[in-house]
Symmetry: C2
Subunit: 229 residues, 2 copies
DNA sequence: TTACTTAGTGTAAAAAATACACGTTATATT
DNA sequence: AATATAACGTGTATTTTTTACACTAAGTAA
């Protein structure tokens, strides 16, 4: 226990919506809680903000603790401040999202005492979530839907080298609708942020597709311009 | 003083960016602080969140206390959580914006003990602001720039009856650039959310313009569709 | 060699965005 | 009453963007 000034009895937490793409499905990272409240429930990875760190720093720390990853672009998208959202007191949660590439060399290693395990779960098939996490997730999904229409975010989900069909899959999963193949390719190439490689997919049955790379330099020049899907 | 659980020693505040349009200039409401810290500085209107109210409820209460207005659509846009943003302790500020019509019948009446006065100030000509309020304001401006491109927000700033030239002025002020008159009219009318009235401006020198009303019902149907300026 | 599956490509039509200039009308002034 | 003033209100041609739509090519596997 600790003494505080009046008004200074709130806690602030971070919840992270981590999107991942395994080539077929859009997934998010969930943990199975090992502590009350909501022990044994699935929840978004999150934790309390420490006193000596900003919310942004806290978000990066928590992501690192949960996945071993740093250098990921996370973006704050909303603060959830309902009175009874946490049974143990007044907790304001600041939500961040990030897009991660799955199946890379180093496996994600969630090292958390308060979680039994962490697992990537298909967004289309989620368990019931602790607290108001379903709501937080829904808002996050809305957000990236709007975002991906205006910025080429999809590449953060994809491996370094990818095919145009994979890019299209990501767009279709996030937007929740089918897109026309020719029009999609015309459009995504028109932004000139993709570099065609002299290399084909390997290890696939059937015809291998050409691989592309994301050209971050050209992307940065594009930033600010309006694009849409 | 009060005893709390570990982690529960943060305060949460609301800061409001209230945009107003007086026919010529885009303004925001500032208060002159009457209390330390930053006594005598100009600041965004804001206050601490009470324990028994959500952040949304708190934002509406604070807006009401400062302006006497209710029934205003406010939207949360960002949470500011740097460590040293408040000299008296760890305060996370959740920022909201709203658009108000100025010069209505009832004058805005800020009734605050902690403020010497409240005043509408031209966004293009601001004093130095307390805390990180300049930063909060900048983010708010960015936000409404993006928003107004995709939603017809401008009408919240205008009186019930307005001219198309006034609508265009609001867009030009927020976007910070001149728009073509004929193209602007074509576009804004194409959304079919404006109702032409059988009535002209009064009390102006020179030719009076036709007045329009905003049709909220039709606007609600539009919601979700993409529009852009 | 054949069957299968995904890759990769072009065009025409429709819709939207842009660029651009002048006659009209109400008021104010002389 | 005539005139000057200043903002109002309107249309079209061009360019750009979006949409709709279907087949051949290439590589793998049996």
């Amino acid at each position: 226990m600790k003494e505080v000034l009046p008004g200074f009895n709130f806690a602030v937490s971070i919840d992270c919506v981590l999107f991942g793409f395994d080539g077929n499905e859009l997934k998010i990272l969930l943990i199975e809680r090992n502590e009350e409240p909501f022990k044994d429930w699935w929840a978004l990875p999150g934790n309390l903000v420490n006193e000596e760190e900003s919310t942004d720093e806290s978000a990066f720390r928590i992501l690192r603790e949960l996945t071993g990853l740093s250098d990921i672009y996370m973006e704050q998208y909303y603060a959830f401040g309902d009175v009874n959202r946490h049974p143990q007191g007044r907790v304001i949660s600041v939500a961040y999202y990030a897009m991660l590439r799955l199946g890379g060399e180093k496996p994600l290693k969630p090292l958390t005492s308060y979680a039994k395990k962490a697992q990537w779960v298909n967004v289309a098939n989620l368990p019931k979530l602790a607290f108001d996490h379903q709501h937080i997730l829904d808002k996050g999904l809305e957000k990236i839907k709007r975002r991906i229409k205006h910025l080429p975010l999809a590449f953060e989900l994809l491996p370094e080298k990818f095919t145009l069909t994979q890019v299209q899959s990501v767009y279709e999963l996030i937007l929740g609708k089918k897109l026309d193949k020719r029009n999609f390719r015309k459009k995504i190439l028109s932004f000139k942020v993709l570099k065609e490689l002299d290399e084909k997919q390997r290890g696939v049955s059937f015809r291998a597709a050409t691989l592309y790379k994301f050209d971050k330099r050209k992307y940065n020049k594009l930033f600010g311009k309006e694009i849409s899907f």
